[in-house]
Amino acid sequence: MAKYILKRIALAIVTIWAVITITFVLMHSVPGNPFATENRKIPDNIMENLMKKYGLDKPKGEQYLMYLKNIARFDFGESMKQDSETVNQIIARGFPVSARLGIQAILIALIFGPALGAIAALYQNKAPDYISMIISIIGVSVPSFVLGSFSIQFIASKIDWIPIGGWGEFRHTLLPSIALALMPLAQFARLMRSSMLEVLGQDYIKTAKSKGISRFAVIMKHAIRNAILPIVSILGTTISNLVAGSFVIEKIFGIPGLGQFFTTSVFNRDYTLIMGVTVFYAIVLISMMLLVDIAYTLIDPRIRLTKEGH
């Protein structure tokens, strides 16, 4: 196990290096720079001063090496657009906010999604199945900005206790968490339904039934446990997506999270911030994947980590 984890960490470092390199090349090959503004251009000589201030006048190779050196010390540098904070500060401030929303959303999704899917499978082609699948189709197909705007217009502005956007207390997190949760909830429900149907047709379920175990026990002990595996396998990506924050939800609800920076940093060509959030996200994603793989062995004894790779 320890050997396996070490190997995975080594692999993760290589992956992150690749992410850095590809991002660096891509972002520097797009036209534009961090200092351009839409309706007022900047004279060339002032642009030169700005380039010099942020070291962008140096050869690209030198910039790249400098960057690698700084990242090795977890120093993501200065944001080129936001003078008041470093990239590290922006991440340190934004991530807890996004992560809190993300965790609340994943909790909602994990509580309701698999349950909905399991119910749908158990009552296949009956009313509960249709109802839960309608809910999940809505969840998958309604974009979060529609859902967000809708909930502000029809819920937040009608109920005093629920604020219209902003950040601070639990009540501020309620609507955005739900809006964020709906998509993974629906995904989980659909996955759960299909894998549950498959599992229910397996021989061991029949065996269990024939042994005279109650229907409830069969479902809880044998069916759900096996049917939930596909959900576990996508959990890593889902969690990293959710905790990294959503541009749309954060914008609509005015939440000071990290998610917005994935998009705005690119629009702004804020090179250091692009790199910072990308590398950070890569780290979160890779760690989550590793955790999922480890977790897999805990619920499914058929999988053994040590045998992998041979």
Partner: protein, 552 residues
């Protein structure tokens, strides 16, 4: 069995919590501003509004847009300022003298002016602030607005020295400024945020002073007390401000909320007293209802199309004029943009005054005509002069380039249709990100491109300067020696009669040559609750809330 699932889920949650750095966001004990009635519980008058975007920096020379200047204008004051009636008056300066040749300005500072930390504001602070803004290492985005000062451009571009910049504190209360050329609008410039002073001692001892409210020192009506990034900015009345009796508010709370629709819901819900960036659909609806809360403020900005003269047949003036004449601007502003914009009658927007105090736009008159028949005739004539037919034109696949945005797209589609029906031509639309558009404009890789310009000061020169042949912003490479001569003439004197005459002539000439096709003049719609008074808009600024008052 499900013990293991439980175990699994708890591992995940545990790790997820660990990842968040164990920090439930440090906002537990926020003052509940959402529930706060204006001045109800505390008896304080707090104006609540939205600043739309996170300021990049609140250090005056590093500011570059309204999301910064709106806060700076409430926290700082220049030598001159705008008073509660929107007039340009002495601010930090008590009086000023201008030399006969218009090149030397001597400002006497007031006696009772102090920084928010109690230090007196001195002429040395101004000298230091302006030179700091010009220092190439500061890399001030807006340094070019200081180039009217002698030696400023040379220092900023690394050609000259700091000592040679024409600003000097003769003593604590006297500031002498030498200009490069007579600049009639220089006094107004001293009210601009790049000209704001900074506290020399504070800035020298702490370069990061502007990053944290606890070290933030300013000299204006309000002070920065809290800055929650991407969330909220809180200003409080500055008791040390010499004109504090004119300031009715105890403070200003500004949210940083990007989404216009959400902000509008908050305004509707009574959480804002004034709101500036309003969704277009709402503006249109309020306009139709004649809602008294809606104000449509003038703005010094023009929306126009660049026509690339290096490409045949756009080199032909008749073709360019035909394109302009075939454009029904009234329809564009009334049916498409719908934010109260004004159909362009030239390049200089309304709101700027000429030598008699009349509106420059009105004095020059409308230089743009909508005339489909004449457009068609001119277009065919122009094409013939270039040896082309409409078929030739259409086979070229000319492109109208705009930066991706819903409103630019709608306008471009309307224009495409107007040109199609009037001139029988097919223009292809292409949208790119604005940075890509800038890049292509600079390298001449476009046929027609959307552009906009927001002026910096209230003189027609802020627009006419764009198209003189040396201008860094002259993307269409307009080069007309006669035009240059008029601009040079207007720049060489402080005599408003001469300047204005030259500029009026220049604008007529520009619209005769039509290197750019103006579409409309920007406006700034904003809404103010009925119990809020004293909000007004100077065209060159965001709505002024400094002198606002809240009544019950």
């Amino acid at each position: 069995m499900s013990k293991k699932i439980l175990k699994l889920i708890s591992i995940f949650l545990l790790l997820a919590v660990l990842f968040t750095g164990c920090s439930s966001p440090a906002t537990q004990e926020e003052p509940q501003e959402t529930a706060e009635e204006p001045g109800a519980s505390t008896g304080k008058k707090i104006l609540r509004t939205n600043n739309s975007s996170e300021p990049g920096s609140l250090d005056p020379p590093l500011a570059q847009g309204t999301h910064e200047s709106w806060i700076l204008e409430n926290c700082f004051e220049g030598l001159m300022t705008f008073d509660e009636n929107g007039n340009l008056v002495e601010g930090m300066a008590e009086s000023y003298e201008v030399s006969e040749d218009g090149l030397t300005y001597t400002f006497k500072l007031r006696d009772d002016i102090t920084w928010s930390n109690g230090d007196p504001v001195t002429a040395h602070d101004f000298e230091y602030a302006w030179k700091r803004a010009l220092d190439p290492e500061t890399a001030a985005n807006y340094a070019s607005i200081l180039y009217y000062i002698k030696g400023a451009e040379a220092y900023n571009t690394g050609q000259g020295s700091r000592e040679d910049v024409g600003v000097k504190a003769l003593d604590d209360k006297t500031l002498e400024v030498t200009l490069e050329t007579p600049t009639a609008f220089f006094l107004e410039l001293t009210a601009f945020y790049t000209y704001f002073p900074v506290n020399k001692n504070v800035v020298e001892s702490n370069p990061d002073w502007a990053k944290d409210p606890s070290t933030y020192v300013c000299n204006g009506p309000f002070m920065l007390v809290e800055w929650k990034h991407n969330d909220q900015i809180i200003l409080e009345k500055n008791p040390n401000y010499y004109n504090a009796h004119k300031i009715k508010l105890d403070g200003i709370d500004l949210d940083i909320l990007e989404d216009e629709n959400t902000a509008w819901q908050k305004y509707l819900g009574g959480e804002y007293d004034i709101l500036v960036d309003i969704p277009t659909s709402v503006v249109n609806q309020l306009k139709q209802e004649n809602n008294p809360e809606l104000e449509i403020g003038l703005m010094v900005g023009t929306y126009y199309y660049n026509v690339n003269p290096a490409i045949k047949p756009f080199n032909n003036v008749k073709v360019r004029k035909a394109l302009s004449m075939a454009m029904d601007r009234e329809t564009i502003v009334e049916k498409i943009t719908m934010g109260g914009e004004i159909a362009a009658g030239g390049v200089v927007p309304p709101g700027l005054k000429d030598e008699k105090g009349e509106d420059f736009r009105e004095a020059v008159g409308n230089l743009i005509e909508y005339n489909p028949e004449e457009a068609k005739r001119l277009f065919e004539e122009g094409l013939a002069e270039e040896g082309m037919t409409v078929e030739d034109f259409n086979s070229q696949g000319f492109v109208l380039l705009y930066n991706t945005s819903e409103s630019h797209r709608k306008i471009a589609q309307a224009v495409q249709e107007m040109w199609r029906t009037t001139l029988g031509i097919e223009i292809v639309l292409e949208n790119v990100e604005f940075q890509v558009k800038l890049d292509r404009e600079q390298s001449g890789d476009y046929h027609i491109s959307r552009a906009g310009w927001i002026g910096d000061f209230m003189d027609p020169m802020t627009f006419l300067d764009l198209w003189w042949s040396d201008s860094a912003f002259n993307d269409v490479n307009y080069n007309n020696p006669e035009y240059d001569a008029l601009i040079r003439k207007a720049k060489s004197t402080n005599d408003q009669n001469e300047r204005m005459a030259a500029m009026k002539e220049a604008e007529r000439m520009l619209m005769e040559d039509m290197p750019v096709i103006p579409v409309y003049f920007y406006t700034q719609p904003y809404t103010v609750k009925p119990n809020v008074t004293g909000v007004f808009k100077v065209p060159v600024r965001y709505p002024t809330i400094t002198y606002a008052d809240i009544t019950d």
